[in-house]
């Protein structure tokens, strides 16, 4: 029993295909010229039948898309000012990359999103958990528990179910590229299908690629980056979920333009739908916290939207306090 047995074409064509050993739909779509007993017209007929079986054309008009709630869904960042810069929040489609130097707040951002994802949809959440994949350091549990405490006291009423927020964050540590691909290929779909998880975070995507490849393996590295990007994008598209990838920065070789750019080059940046960069400035600010804590002096950071299909380039300053990221105008 092969893929072509129930193809919608005459039996003589199916027999000819079997004789030429073309038994998968993929090989049929790759055909570019007559083969065996099959003429050009026969090839056309078979290709169309194979195409229909693989993917029935379901065009949607832009009008229907505009009116669909799925398209307009966004994941809130937990801060109104940052949400406004993002015009609602993170897109629930495509790969959102967050890059920056060390201690610019990338992991903080990802943890915050893991919590906001658990909010009810009408408050900007996805009412589901997160698959958090760590590729370098251990998962920052202590910081997460501190954030959960503050988050629950502030947003408790906006959650659909009650219980420990940490229970819904599924943490995986992966040691190398193969481990990462295995996790995303096999473990992720199980969580996604059950609806337990509606956000995937990879922290960080750069770790393995920057260290595990020799100089002459750059082509292989580009292939692997492409494979990872495609897999993440496929999950995002199929389940309509945001995928957040944290990236490191590297020095730009060019004399003009910015000094630090996201690492992994063109092969990764072409996979990214939205690129956000976080930086620490040398300014600081003293903010007033609630009465239990005194004023806090903290460094001002900036979130820059480098590119997004629907957003103009923009920079928003923010600080991090015990409750998380807070942007200001």
């Amino acid at each position: 029993m092969s893929e072509i047995d129930d193809l919608d074409v005459q039996q003589r064509l199916k027999n000819a295909l079997k004789r030429s050993r073309l038994t998968t739909l993929k090989s049929i779509l790759y055909l570019t010229e007559p083969v065996g007993n099959l003429g050009a017209e026969d090839i056309q007929t078979i290709k169309i039948a194979a195409a229909k079986k693989l993917s029935v054309l379901k065009p949607v008009t832009a009008l229907e898309l505009r009116n669909s709630p799925r398209e307009n869904q966004r994941l809130t960042t937990g801060c109104g000012v940052l949400d406004q810069a993002l015009r609602g929040g993170l897109l629930c489609r495509g790969i959102t990359e967050i890059s920056g130097e060390s201690s610019s707040g990338k992991t903080q951002f990802a943890l915050q999103l893991s919590l906001t994802a658990q909010l009810a949809p009408r408050y900007g959440g996805l009412d589901a958990g997160t698959l958090y994949i760590c590729t370098e350091d251990a998962f920052p549990s202590k910081r997460l528990y501190q954030m959960i405490e503050n988050f629950t006291s502030r947003h408790g009423k906006k959650l659909c179910t009650h219980g420990n927020l940490g229970d819904k964050i599924f943490i995986e540590h992966v040691p190398d590229f193969d481990g990462l691909m295995h996790c995303i290929t096999h473990k992720a779909p199980v969580l996604l299908k059950s609806g337990a998880v509606k956000l995937i975070v990879v922290d960080s995507v750069a770790a393995h690629f920057r260290s595990d490849y020799e100089g002459h393996e750059m082509y292989k590295r580009a292939q692997h980056i492409g494979a990872l990007g495609t897999l993440l994008y496929t999950h995002s598209h199929e389940y309509n979920i945001p995928v957040v990838c944290i990236n490191q920065v590297t020095s730009s070789m060019k004399p003009e333009g910015r000094q630090l750019i996201p690492s992994l080059g063109l092969s990764w940046s072409s996979q990214v739908t939205i690129r956000i960069m976080l930086t620490r400035t040398d300014r600081s600010l003293t903010i007033q916290q609630d009465s239990a804590r005194g004023p806090l002096e903290t460094v001002v950071r900036e979130m820059e939207i480098v590119y997004a299909p629907h957003l103009p380039p923009l920079t928003v300053p923010y600080v991090i306090d015990h409750e998380g990221m807070k942007g200001f105008a």
């Binding site: 570019t32 169309i48 229909k52 993917s55 065009p59 505009r66 492409g226 333009g257 063109l266």
Partner: protein
Amino acid sequence: MQLVCDVRIPHVFGGLEGEAVYIDTQGGVVIERLVSMATATIQHCQQIAAGETDQYVVAALSEMSVDRLLSGIHILSCTTHIQLLAIISQLPHFLHAHRKVQLVVVDSISFHFRSSFEDLSLRTRVLTNLAQSLQSCARKFNIAVVVTNQMTTRVSEDGARVVPCLGESWAHACTTRLLLQGSGYAFLLKSPTNKQTLAHFQITESGIRDVASDSNNVLERDVDSTCIGKMEDMNMENPTKRQKVS
């Protein structure tokens, strides 16, 4: 996205009044952005027509609405190169059923092909065949086909250069090629009718617009290499009609 809005412009305003098919391979169509560009396109037409009394113009204007514009844009998504091949195989059938379509956009053709193929000669054959299918659709249905391509780094003895993806064979398959640079320059690399020229454009809230400049002369200079934003190469297969970027 600007092109799919422009193709919907009525005849009285110089447009094609046609429908468009947008094949989206990388989730770049965010409907909110398309809606704001569509709204701006209509406003643009309204401004042109302000004060006109010609009955055709008035009639066309009254029929224009964002809803109507959006209803003529058909969006197809795919996530793998096989799905893309499947969609393009079925495209003639779709175009036959939707005779008002005047534009097909594939965004982008290279996204899935650049990383999934180990056998490069197979990839070249498949892509050439794909280009031929698109060319034949363009001729048979008298439509414009616009395809976007990404950039990649080619390492050679002279160092690394940033070039369009998919190699030389793809470059031959296209009739017209336009190279866009992040800072707002469009460079006409290849065209059957015009010489190589450079144009300046900007991306505004309303979409792609000209940049007001004092000289009408178009500069000829070397196109710089990439910035960390995206740089795209647009390949166009366009047998009879000229595309206007308004």
